[in-house]
């Protein structure tokens, strides 16, 4: 039982990290019907931005809440800027082009970032600075509640609440929802759709930045290809929940995180990655629109 609860906590913690990244995929898809393959590499850049920020500011051996906040801000800023730039330079010129062209461009941007990362940062993994002291905060029913896990949960929760407020309680969020349902009509209402699309990239990328610091904090090894696997898993999570659906992305990510931890805990850690793709195959066969997605009939 203790084991189970421990796995549960680990799973939710892992799932919340997936959720932060999955949201970026799902928000961009909701608005442009584009799978932004470069998103996982924006996440990678976030980790390196935090790494260099910590070293430059000399806080890499100085764990604490203030370090966490500073690194979060650094990663979010770098990712937002990068997300904005990618949309502006790579995707916007293709707004009227066939969807396939943008998709291929997204893969190109992804490869560009991965290999530029290897050139600039070097291919060797780097050790992410210690962000928080890993200590057991309290023990309940024999289960240890560690500061890192709780910090991950807390930060994710704050981000989710902020995102919810933004999307459902501001004029900007209303415009984002309008643009994602019908871009032409939203423009007729006076919404500058290009600006909303930019903003969506900025928000999604900032969330990936948060995810990168949380991952760096828990698994302190970063390298220019670190985005690939976690990006794929977050993407599967978004598909599982119903891509384009924000609540779905969070749900899908939690399911992914939990099942991954359970498989590792009770079967074998070698199945860890196979599980994600198993889930993807099953969902695509039985419920391609995802758990919360609406099945749309593609008209020919």
């Amino acid at each position: 039982m203790q084991d189970f609860i421990q796995h549960l906590i680990n799973g939710i913690s892992l799932g919340s990290i997936y959720a932060l990244i999955a949201l970026g995929y799902t928000m961009v898809f909701g608005i442009l019907q584009l799978i932004n393959f470069a998103h996982s590499d924006v996440y990678m850049i976030g980790a390196f931005a935090a790494y260099y920020a910590a070293r430059t500011l000399g806080i890499d051996k100085n764990p604490g809440v203030s370090t966490l906040v500073i690194l979060l801000i650094a990663a979010m800023a770098a990712c937002s800027l990068l997300g904005f730039t990618i949309e502006r330079l790579a995707y916007r010129p293709l707004r009227k082009a066939p969807k396939l062209n943008i998709l291929i461009t997204a893969i190109g941007v992804s490869l560009f970032l991965q290999y530029s990362g290897q050139v600039v940062f070097g291919a060797d993994p780097k050790v992410f600075p210690a962000v928080l002291e890993d200590s057991v905060l309290f023990t309940l029913l024999g289960v240890e509640f560690k500061s890192l896990d709780l910090a991950v949960l807390f930060v994710t929760l704050v981000m989710m609440v902020l995102l919810h407020l933004l999307i459902y309680h501001t004029k900007l969020g209303r415009a984002m929802r309008a643009v994602s349902t019908n871009m032409n009509v939203a423009a007729m209402m006076g919404v500058n759709t290009d600006r909303i699309i930019s903003f969506t990239f900025v928000v999604g990328s900032a969330l990936a930045g948060v995810g990168s610091v949380l991952v760096g904090m828990k698994y302190p090894k970063i390298d220019p290809l670190m985005g690939m696997m976690i990006g794929l898993k977050a993407f599967v999570a978004a598909v599982l929940g119903g891509i384009g659906n924000i609540a779905g992305a969070v749900l899908g990510a939690l399911i992914m995180g939990l099942s991954e931890e359970m498989v590792v805990g009770y079967l074998s850690s070698t199945y860890r990655d196979a599980l994600a793709f198993g889930i993807l195959i099953v969902i695509l066969i039985f419920r391609p629109a995802g758990l919360l997605g609406k099945g749309g009939v593609e008209k020919v």
């Binding site: 209303r174 309008a178 019908n182 423009a187 007729m188 006076g190 919404v191």
Partner: protein
């Protein structure tokens, strides 16, 4: 005074020449209808006026050209459209849809006044304000689309097929309201397949066939025109 003037409007969809030099105008305070069969180019005309499709020729709003004005900027110049198929945002509430209509405005008091006016015109919208727009009936969605357009306090209101898919009773209601809005001073450009209803409330009308204006005149004159009767009014 001409509120809206369209001169020699041409639109191409790829190699298809959809609008072949359409010209017409709407005077301040008028209801003007564009009538014609399916595929004649009525909706395309409205899309060009809103800037959703690219066009050549002139579109003048109160004498000022709309060339190089983005769709989203045309709203604050005084153009509002209730689009084809109503185009309400189904996953936004009725209230949120109306707020989207007022997106380009910032004066809260004026917006509130406008909202109350919409609720007087369409009491149903007040009852349903917290409901998701996707759960409304077709007639209610059409009312929402029109009120949403009115929420931008436009100078010219563009209505695309407000009768589409609605029961005759509802259509009559909606046309009554269009007439009322016009009597309050709103200039209206109406695109309709239901020629009889449109001509009855229109000051003037244009008949469009395969991308060209083939006939124009006063609403009542066209109602009695033999050719129009034969082609659009069923004998």
């Amino acid at each position: 005074m001409k509120a809206l003037e369209v001169q020699d409007l041409n639109v191409f969809y790829g190699s298809i020449h959809a609008l072949k030099g359409i010209s017409f105008h709407v005077n301040q305070g008028e209801i003007v209808s564009l009538i014609g069969a399916n595929g004649a180019g009525k909706t395309t005309t409205l899309r060009a006026i809103s800037g959703i499709v690219e066009s050549t020729g002139q579109i003048l709003l109160h004498g000022k050209t709309l060339k190089n004005v983005k769709t989203c900027e045309r709203v604050s110049l005084g153009l509002a459209q209730s689009p084809e198929g109503r185009g309400v945002f189904p996953n936004l509430t009725v209230m949120e849809n109306l707020q989207m209509g007022a997106y380009s405005r910032s004066d809260k008091n004026e917006i509130q006044k406008n909202l109350e006016h919409c609720f007087i015109l369409f009491p149903r919208m007040k009852e349903r304000q917290k409901q998701l727009a996707g759960t409304l009936s077709g007639g209610e969605q059409q009312m929402l689309a029109i009120s949403r357009a009115l929420m931008s306090a436009p100078k010219v209101l563009l209505l695309d097929e407000p009768s589409l898919g609605l029961a005759p009773l509802i259509v009559a209601q909606i046309f009554e309201i269009i007439k009322k809005v016009n009597q309050e001073g709103m200039t209206v450009l109406l695109v309709e397949q239901n020629a009889r209803m449109a001509l009855k409330i229109s000051h003037r009308a244009y008949v469009i066939e395969t991308g060209k204006v083939t006939l124009e005149g006063k609403g009542e004159d066209l109602l009695n025109n033999d050719e129009v009767r034969r082609s659009y009014l069923g004998g």
